[in-house]
Symmetry: C2
Subunit: 346 residues, 2 copies
């Protein structure tokens, strides 16, 4: 029904080998022959069967991307950045959406993708020592996003410093009771980002001589709803915080709603700083730590292509992308702060 390489060969009056070479633009094909083959292929609307081609050549022209939660804004942006770069080099991308712990386990342990991709990008998934070793033995190019590693090339941001900056901003505004809306309650997988951000938050409080109060550290599950609920909890404690650092913009946006629904004003009554610089942050005036998102995907894709093309076993590059504080309108000085306590912040 649909034309195969043999049909093209017959119509062009050459062998299938020549068709294969002509179509792929290999050298050593006479210009006139190539023209005849191209014409025949076009007449027959021939497209190569990728499965046959990949089986014969041993290359898949496909890259895998393993992501924890495909619908979150951060992940869509990273995937999109990587996809653009990979598509430009002629690669398809196969998405492995490993939302559940079991699918995560299965993909990272079975490594069942190994015969169907030429390389793989893993986003944000913490790997056990064992999983890292198995991945390495595959000897398939692997690039990590958001996960530092000595084994694989990786692109990350400095979560600790970024969280310190966000918290310091609140301290500089005179806030003394500062809440934290963190990631998942107790994900057994221990994603790094939320932990590092919490550490940054605590460091700054301690350095400023402020008390670290456990009841001001509430999980928000990286969702708007979770952020809203976490904020409700924070408003209910004795001596509620006058400022909150949310570990993602989605959670910050949820928190914003809770504060306003409670009849309080932002930033007069409560200051909120987020993390990411989500597309919507600018539009709701959210102060946040901006990280380059689709850039992380693009850089990772570039590193992956480097690995595939030249298999230099140089030590794997680690790229750390910069973050910066973007002050908008959801943060302000603590009401009634003694002015002498207020440090300028830029």
């Amino acid at each position: 029904m649909t034309a195969s390489i043999g049909d093209v060969a017959a119509r062009a009056g050459v062998s299938v080998a020549t068709v294969s070479r002509a179509l792929r633009g290999l050298p050593n094909v006479a210009p006139s022959t190539r023209a005849r083959v191209l014409a025949a292929a076009s007449d027959l609307q021939y497209v190569v069967d990728p499965h046959a081609s990949r089986l014969a050549a041993g290359k898949t022209r496909t890259m895998g991307m393993i992501v924890p939660l495909f619908t979150q804004w951060f992940f869509t942006q990273v995937v999109s950045g990587a996809e653009a770069v990979l598509a430009a080099s002629g690669y398809d991308v196969l998405l492995y959406n490993v939302g559940s712990p079991t699918s995560r386990e299965r993909v990272l342990t079975d490594l069942s993708f190994r015969k169907r991709v030429d390389g793989v990008i893993v986003i944000d998934l913490p790997l056990t020592e064992e999983q890292e070793r198995r991945l390495e033995r595959l000897d398939l190019p692997v690039v990590l996003v958001g996960i530092p590693s000595v084994r694989f090339p990786n692109v990350t941001i400095d979560n600790l410093m970024a969280a310190r900056t966000a918290t310091r901003h609140l301290v500089n505004l005179g806030h003394e009771h500062i809440g934290l809306i963190s990631g998942m309650p107790d994900d057994p997988l221990r994603f790094r980002a939320p932990l590092e951000r919490r550490t940054g938050y605590r460091q700054v409080l301690m350095e400023a001589g402020l008390e670290v109060r456990d009841e001001l550290d509430v999980p928000g599950n990286f969702s708007m709803r979770g952020g809203a609920e976490a904020m409700a909890q924070l408003l209910g404690v004795e001596h509620p915080p006058s400022a909150v650092f949310a570990e993602s913009d989605e959670m910050a946006i949820g928190a914003l709603k809770t504060v306003r629904d409670a009849g309080l004003r932002v930033p007069d009554d409560v200051s909120i700083v987020g993390f990411d610089d989500h597309e919507v942050a600018e539009y709701v005036g959210l102060t946040t730590v901006s990280q380059p998102v689709s850039d992380q995907g693009e850089v990772a894709a570039g590193l992956l292509l480097d690995r595939v093309q030249a298999d230099q076993e140089a030590s794997p590059p680690s790229v750390v992308l910069p973050t910066k504080l973007v002050v908008r309108t959801t943060t302000g000085p603590r009401r009634g702060a003694r002015s002498g306590q207020l440090t300028r912040f830029g």
Copy 2:
């Protein structure tokens, strides 16, 4: 290096044909044999080579999704809904991101995906008569999202009615000058949704005896930034609108910012209604027309699986999913509206 079916056969002491049958759970394999094969496969960490398998079997176990703009919220949700259903049935999904007109043209004309997928979902891309016919001749199952068709199964919403409802809501609140922030300025491809929504808007204005003013119809490119710019333009006309219908929530969110930055209040000075019920809409209090988004992907995937499994040539089903108006806090009565003119809307 990595085990093939022959290795498993050797270790289990059977032929490759038996390994193939045992691993795929086909009948007519002695239980003891099957157990031996399974053990051998597990010992060797064998996974089947999908390219070889697909070449031999003629099935790809992969579905294609062709989407115009992968990073937009609406598309990520549809893709995610479809992906969940397809993955549950053991299908991989291959993403064709056809952002540019040229890539759109190429994919829809070359149909180069035809040998690598068992079926395809096309989202929102208007097809020419010629493209529809070529797609049909492929005799590959095709399901459309957002595109009515007599040829292919499709899932849509009633954009016209939904837009009428949104506009009627504003009319009922007493507004007489109602602006429209529409989709792309003049996309040569003529996506249907923006056109149908505009038609609904105009119908209601005319039915209400209100003037349809061209200068109140401004394109916003389906982005927050575009919506913000469109709103700025609307604020600059003579007799600016007291209410605006934005054809997407992203544009509505942009518009909201412009209104507030101008020192005006929502909804006291300007009412805004959006379209989609974007994840963030609830959190910014946006009145909008809610449409089931990931449902559209799920339903489409279901229709596609139906087609692949039973190739009943019954007339292709058309599923129309419901929309509903969600009134929140960005719409309110026109200031100074004569109360007699105000119709109840709740």
